[in-house]
């Protein structure tokens, strides 16, 4: 268990008759950037919600950050960060207040919060808008802030659910640079995305189709395996 940041076997989620996630098994190594791909409705978000303790698995077992996802969901939450598609910051709170709030509920001390705030504001170049409400920030800034806030408590693993939706390629590139920084610092990154160019940035990629993982390897191997030149092709061949 210890050498893997995430390890699941036979993970299944059913809603009534519908099987959203069908007995998936995989592992993610520490410090890896793991791309979790799939068409809309393939079950990516459902699988991810089980990993972060928002949803109880119907069957199967798994460990995240060394804790069991069935029985120790609350312990897992101490060691992971999560950034949802909606980048859940409070729009009516300022940048600083958002950092303070999330730092506070993760149990950080006043001093730690002050340090974290200074660090985030500096790194993201947000000093000038620190006292502006988040609602007034451009989308790209919100995404980077949301990413930073999800790591306010220094988690070992960060889950990113389509973090770069709706922004231009330049902002996306910027965002991925921060992801790389975090991975270099030893953090495990688990990321879902619809952008195949982003899939190329990942160490390994899994592709989900109708609740099952149909392919899992490095982008290079996958392209070889499916005799394609781009990840786009790989995806299309699988998803069809």
């Amino acid at each position: 268990m210890t050498e893997h940041a995430i390890e699941v076997t036979g993970l299944t989620k059913r809603f009534g008759d519908f099987t959203a996630v069908d007995a998936i098994s995989f592992h993610v190594s520490k410090g890896e950037i793991f791309g979790f791909l799939g068409a809309n409705g393939a079950g990516k978000t459902t699988a991810m919600r089980m990993l972060i303790g928002l949803s109880k698995p119907t069957e199967g077992d798994g460990f995240v950050a060394g804790y069991n996802i069935r029985t120790e969901a609350e312990q897992i939450k101490k060691g992971i960060g999560y950034m949802s598609q909606k980048f859940s910051l409070y729009n009516d709170l300022t940048v600083k207040e958002n950092i303070r709030f999330y730092g506070g509920i993760y149990g950080l001390s006043k001093k730690q919060i002050a340090e974290k705030t200074a660090e985030i504001l500096e790194e993201l170049d947000l000093l000038e808008v620190a006292k502006k409400t988040v609602g007034a920030l451009p989308l790209g800034w919100k995404q980077r802030l949301s990413f930073a806030v999800s790591m306010v408590h220094d988690p070992d693993i960060v889950f990113l659910d389509e973090p770069t939706g709706g922004v231009d390629p330049y902002v996306r590139r910027q965002f991925w640079e921060t992801i790389y920084q975090q991975a270099d610092a030893g953090r495990t990154i688990f990321v879902t995305t619809h952008y195949m160019d982003e899939a190329e940035y990942c160490d390994r990629v899994s592709i989900m189709v109708a609740g099952s993982i149909e392919a899992l390897d490095t982008p290079k191997e996958l392209k070889k395996q499916f005799a394609s030149t781009t990840m786009d092709d790989v995806f299309l061949k699988l998803a069809r």
Binding site: L54, A73, S88, L89, D92, L93, F101, G104, G107
Partner: protein, 371 residues
Amino acid sequence: MKILAYLIQKEFTQIFRNKALLPMMTILPIVQLIVLSNAASNEVKNVNLVVVDKDHSEQSRLLTRKIVANERFSLVSAPYSKENAMETMQTNGADIVLEIPQNFERSFLKGERPQLQILVNAINGQQATVGVGYLNSIIGTFNKELQTRVGQPAIGKNANIQIASRNWYNPEIEYTHFMAPGILAELTALLTIILSAMNVVREREMGTIEQINVTPIKKWQFIVGKLVPFLCVGLLLLTVGLIASKLIFDIPMLGNIGIIFMYAIVNLIAVLGLGLLISNFANTQQQAIFVAFFFILIFVLMCGLFTPIDSMPKWAQYFTIPNPLAHFISVSRKVLMKGSGLADIKMEFLYTFILAILFNSLAIWSYKKQS
């Protein structure tokens, strides 16, 4: 404890930042308090009367004059036939038709017992009963005077018992003294239930609740973190409301105001618990508002504010036990008007306390971090 402080701090920041919320929480209720306390009156001040005088005698005219002299009655018309009078009633122009029969005076003097007829428009039940009451007492007095004047021995010799009534706790029957404390209690409870019911759903709609759910925060911390700020808002509203009622209506404050606040804290916790419970089951603010309204309507109509609980059917009286509003109104009236102490309101305290525990336990239980 520290985590809780951050939750509460965040909630207060949001409340104070919301430009619409603060006035909504303070000014609107005060306006309602002023308007409702004056308007929601059960007093019958104007009864439209039609007199059909078929006698046209001295006495029948005297009776009519006596009735009309009373400011509560206004004579709408005095037609010759009952048909015309009924038409007026049909068009809702008259509340009461008084028919004085032919030979009314003559048969009275003969010592017979002439009969007057009173026809009442009972569509508005209250207007009807109270109006007839007034009318009967006027006719009764008239009858007695007439008997003494014509030197006739009283027909019923037992009619000599005098009843002198005195109104305790509200000697002048000031309607606003009775209504204002009740309406104040009602407004405080209603506002807090709506605010709390909307709040968690809003976080769900915004997606922020998901972010909170992936933190190791405890369920009770989340609920208490929501409860405390709105409790403060409720108490603020109560304070402003009490001051306004004192200044505007000069309501009596015989009891210890501390008791009111002590009770209000328990009551607001109960009401907020219910609001949060509703919030947990709703997916959209629309759903939350509908469910909250369902409870609010029942609470308001069955809280003893407009209709006394004692005059409800037995089963409905039991229904007021789980109604926090009913207890709140009862306590505020008892303490303010009667000067009741803790011992006098112990039942209200007990019931509300149980409700507070119940609603909040359910709220914590039904708040799911994991689906």
